[in-house]
C-alpha cells in the first residue's frame, strides 16, 4: 500500500510501462543484480590478479578461474522463488529467461575481456568469450537437471577438468579433445563449435523448461 502524497507536493511518480516493469520484477526475482555485482567483482579480481607475476601455469589458469566464477553467478539466476504459479501464468517467461541468460553472458564476457585490456590475458578476448559461453551452457544444463541452486556444480567441476587439461599441455600426454575447450587455442574452430553447442543447448533448455526448482528454496 502506498502512502498518500502530501498536499502541494510534486506530481506522483509515473508508473513504469508494463513491459519494463515485468523485466525489472523478473530480474529482481532471479537475483540478477547480485549476479551482475558478482560478475563485476570477478572482473575486478581478474584485473587485480593480472597485476601480479604468474608463472606459465598460473597465467593460463588464472582467467579460467574467473570465467568459471562468472558462469556460476549466471547459473544462480535460473532459480525461481515463485515456482508453479509463475510457470502457469507467465506467458513471457521463456523470453525473459532467454534475455536474462544472454545478457548476463554477454556482460560477463565483456567485463572479463575489458579487465584484461592492457595486461597479459592468456588467450585474449576470444578465449574469454568461448570459455564463458561454454561454461554458462554447462551451468544452464545443470540448472535444468539439478535445479538452480546446485547448478554451479557443473561449471565448478568443469573448472577442475579445464585446469587439468591446461596442465597437460606441459606434462603430457596432452588432452586435445575440443570438448575441453579451455585447453585449446582461441582460434580453434572445433573448440568454439563445442562451446557454442553447449551454450545453445543450455540456453534452449533453460528458456523453454526453466530450472528444476523446489518451491521451498
Amino acid at each position: 500500500m502506498r502512502a498518500a502524497a502530501p498536499a502541494g507536493s510534486a506530481r506522483p511518480a509515473r508508473p513504469l510501462p508494463g513491459g519494463t516493469r515485468l523485466v525489472r520484477l523478473h530480474a529482481i526475482s532471479r537475483r540478477v543484480p547480485a549476479a551482475v555485482a558478482a560478475i563485476a567483482a570477478c572482473a575486478l579480481g581478474l584485473r587485480l590478479a593480472l597485476i601480479g607475476h604468474w608463472d606459465s601455469y598460473g597465467a593460463l589458469q588464472l582467467p579460467l578461474v574467473f570465467e568459471a566464477a562468472s558462469a556460476m553467478a549466471i547459473t544462480i539466476t535460473t532459480a525461481s522463488p515463485l515456482g508453479e504459479p509463475e510457470r502457469a501464468g507467465g506467458r513471457w517467461l521463456p523470453f525473459l529467461r532467454l534475455a536474462s541468460a544472454m545478457m548476463l553472458t554477454a556482460a560477463a564476457a565483456a567485463a572479463l575481456a575489458a579487465a584484461g585490456t592492457g595486461a597479459h590475458l592468456a588467450g585474449g578476448p576470444l578465449d574469454v568469450l568461448r570459455n564463458v559461453a561454454g561454461m554458462t551452457g554447462i551451468g544452464l544444463l545443470c540448472a535444468a537437471a539439478l535445479g538452480g541452486g546446485l547448478a554451479w556444480a557443473g561449471p565448478a567441476g568443469y573448472l577442475v577438468a579445464g585446469a587439468y587439461a591446461l596442465y597437460t599441455q606441459w606434462h603430457g600426454p596432452a588432452l586435445t579433445t575440443p570438448w575441453i575447450w579451455p585447453a585449446r587455442p582461441p582460434h580453434d574452430l572445433g573448440a568454439a563449435i563445442c562451446a557454442g553447442l553447449v551454450f545453445a543447448g543450455g540456453i534452449a533448455v533453460i528458456s523453454v523448461r526453466g530450472a528444476r526448482d523446489r518451491a521451498d528454496e
Binding site: R31, A34, A35, A38, W54, D55, Y57, G58, Q61, L62, V65, A68, A69, M72, A73, T75, I76, A79, L146, G148, G149, L150, W152, A153, P155, A156, G157, L159, V160, A161, A163, Y164, H171, G172, D216, E217
Partner: protein
C-alpha cells in the same frame, strides 16, 4: 473413551543414552538429506578423469602413485566439498527456518556440527572409496613396498578443513551466491598458492597439495632406497586439524549458539586451533630438502628414517647381471634387454664389472625451485668391481613409461658402462676414446656422440668427432668380428686403460 493406561513402574532411560540416540538420529537425517551426496558423482568423475588415469599411467611405485594421489584427489574434491558445505551451511537461512529451529532443545552449534559432520563424512567416504580403488590396483601391480598412509591422512584432514571453511562461509554469509563463490575462491587459493613457493624452506609448503620439493614433481627416486619421510605430512595434518577446530569453534562464538560455558570452551578451542595451525606453518618454514629428495623438518624428523631400507635386489640372467631395487622389478626385463648388447661386449674382460647395480640418488637444492640430483658415490666401486646405475626415472623430470625408460637407459647408461671399463674420460688417450666409440657402434648405439640426456649419467664418454683419426680407428675396430674384438681386448685392455696403446696400434 478411556485414557490410555500408563504403567506406574515405567523406567526412565538414562539421559545420556537418549541424547546419544537423538544425535545419531539427527546425523542419519543429515546424511540422507545432504548436498554432498549429490556432489559425489562430480567429484568421483573428476577423480577418474584427472587423477586415476594419470596415476595409473605411472610406473607401479607406491611413492610415486601416493604422492600423485594426494595432490590430484585434493584438487578434484576442493570445489565439490567447499560448495556443498557452504550450501548446507546456508540451508536454514535459505529455507527461512532459522526462527523455527532456534526454539528447539538442541543448541544451535550442536545442530550445525551435525550438518558439518554429515557433509564431511560423505566427502571423506567418497574420497576414501577412490583411494581404495587406486591402492588396490597398485597393490596388484607393485612388486615391492606397501601403501603409504600419510598422503591419505593429509587428504582426509584437508577435506575436513575445506568442509569446515565452506560450512562457515555458508553459515556466516547465507545466500545462493555463497556456495559457488566459496568453491571457486578455495580452488583459487589452494591451486595458485603454490606459485608462492620458492625453495625448500617455504612456509607455503603447508599447502596440502605439496608432497615434496615443488616444481620437481613426483619423483620415482624418492622413497624407495630410503623411507618416505612423513615430516611435511605431519605438519600439514597439524595445520589442517588446527584450522578445522578453529573454524568450527568460531561457529559457536556468536551469542545464541549455545550456553555460556559452551561459548567459553569454544573460544579456548578456537585459540588452541589457531596456535596449532600457526605452529605447523612455522614448522613447514623450517623444512629443507634432504639428501634423499624429501622435505625434512628438524623438529618433526625421526633419525631412524635416515637409514636406508634393506632389500634383496632383483637381478637379470644376462652375461653381467643387472640388479635393481625390487620396487623397480617391473623395469628389469626391459632394462636388461636394452643393456644386453653393451654387456655382451664387455663380459669376461679384465676389470669389467661383475654386476650392474641400481644405486640411490643424492639431491641438492638449487637456485629457486630447481633440484639437482646425482649418484651417491663413484660409478664403480668394490673388488670385484660393481657398476652403479641410475635409472632415468630416478632423476628429476617427467615420469616415463617402461619402454621409454629402457630406451633412455640404453642411450645413457650403455656408453657410460663401456667408458668405465675402457677407463675413458676427459683425460684418457685417443685410443681409449676410439675403442669406447667402437664398442658403442658395435652395441648398436648412436655413434655420433651421446644425446644431451646422458649428461646426468656418471662416466659419460667424451664425443669422438666424425672425420677425426680416432673416429676412423673406431670404425675400423668396430668392423672387426666380435670374437676378434673381444680377444684383442682381453690381451690389451690393461695396457689400454693405462694409456700405453696408441691409435696406430689398434687393429
Amino acid at each position: 473413551m478411556t485414557a490410555p493406561r500408563v504403567p506406574a513402574t515405567a523406567r526412565r532411560r538414562p539421559a545420556t543414552r537418549r541424547s546419544g540416540l537423538a544425535s545419531a538420529r539427527l546425523l542419519r537425517l543429515e546424511l540422507r538429506h545432504n548436498a554432498m551426496l549429490w556432489m559425489l558423482p562430480v567429484a568421483v568423475a573428476l577423480f577418474w578423469f584427472t587423477t586415476y588415469r594419470k596415476t595409473m599411467a605411472m610406473p607401479p611405485l607406491w611413492n610415486l602413485r601416493a604422492a600423485n594421489m594426494q595432490s590430484g584427489a585434493l584438487a578434484d574434491f576442493i570445489t565439490p566439498v567447499v560448495g556443498a558445505a557452504a550450501w548446507m551451511g546456508s540451508r536454514e537461512a535459505r529455507r527461512h527456518t532459522t526462527d523455527l529451529v532456534t526454539i528447539t532443545a538442541r543448541p544451535r552449534w550442536a545442530r550445525l556440527l551435525t550438518t558439518w559432520a554429515a557433509t564431511t563424512g560423505w566427502a571423506i567416504a567418497g574420497c576414501l572409496g577412490c583411494l581404495a580403488v587406486l591402492y588396490t590396483v597398485t597393490a596388484r601391480q607393485a612388486g615391492w613396498g606397501g601403501p603409504l598412509w600419510w598422503p591419505a591422512a593429509v587428504v582426509a584432514a584437508s577435506l575436513a578443513a575445506l568442509s569446515a571453511i565452506g560450512f562457515a562461509a555458508g553459515t556466516l554469509v547465507p545466500g545462493r551466491l555463497t556456495a559457488p563463490l566459496a568453491a571457486v575462491a578455495a580452488f583459487f587459493m589452494l591451486a595458485l598458492s603454490t606459485e608462492l613457493i620458492v625453495g625448500s624452506q617455504s612456509y607455503w609448503q603447508i599447502s596440502p597439495l605439496v608432497t615434496g620439493p615443488w616444481d620437481a614433481g613426483p619423483n620415482a627416486g624418492v622413497g624407495t632406497f630410503y623411507p618416505y619421510l612423513p615430516d611435511l605430512s605431519i605438519a600439514q595434518a597439524m595445520f589442517l586439524a588446527g584450522l578445522t577446530i578453529a573454524v568450527l569453534a568460531a561457529l559457536a562464538l556468536p551469542r545464541g549458539s549455545g550456553g555460556r560455558r559452551l561459548r567459553a570452551a569454544a573460544a579456548a578451542a578456537c585459540a588452541g586451533g589457531l596456535v596449532a595451525a600457526g605452529t605447523a606453518v612455522a614448522l613447514a618454514g623450517t623444512g629443507k630438502l634432504d639428501a634423499h629428495g624429501m622435505i625434512a623438518i628438524p623438529a618433526l624428523h625421526d633419525a631412524a628414517n635416515d637409514r636406508p631400507i634393506r632389500f634383496s635386489p632383483v637381478c637379470s640372467q644376462t652375461a653381467i647381471p643387472v640388479c635393481l631395487n625390487p620396487a623397480y622389478a617391473s623395469y628389469l626385463p626391459a632394462v636388461a634387454a636394452a643393456l644386453k648388447p653393451v654387456l655382451h661386449e664387455i663380459a669376461g674382460l679384465p676389470g669389467a664389472p661383475v654386476r650392474i647395480s641400481q644405486a640411490a640418488v643424492t639431491y641438492q637444492q638449487g637456485a629457486g625451485n630447481s633440484v639437482g640430483a646425482s649418484l651417491a658415490g663413484p660409478p664403480v666401486s668394490g673388488r670385484p668391481p660393481v657398476y652403479h646405475l641410475l635409472l632415468p626415472d630416478q632423476l628429476p623430470g617427467p615420469v616415463t613409461t617402461v619402454s621409454e625408460l629402457a630406451a633412455a637407459a640404453r642411450l645413457t647408461a650403455g656408453p657410460a658402462i663401456l667408458a668405465s671399463v675402457m677407463g675413458d674420460g676427459p683425460g684418457a688417450s685417443q685410443a681409449q676414446h676410439a675403442v669406447t666409440a667402437a664398442l658403442v657402434m658395435a652395441a648398436g648405439l648412436p655413434p655420433h656422440g651421446i644425446p644431451p640426456a646422458a649428461d646426468g649419467q656418471p662416466g659419460t664418454p667424451p664425443e669422438v668427432t666424425p672425420g677425426s683419426p680416432a673416429y676412423a680407428a673406431a670404425q675400423r675396430f668396430a668392423a672387426l668380428p666380435a670374437s676378434a674384438r673381444h680377444a684383442w681386448l682381453v690381451r690389451h685392455l690393461t695396457a689400454l686403460r693405462a694409456g700405453r696403446v696408441t691409435l696406430a696400434q689398434l687393429p
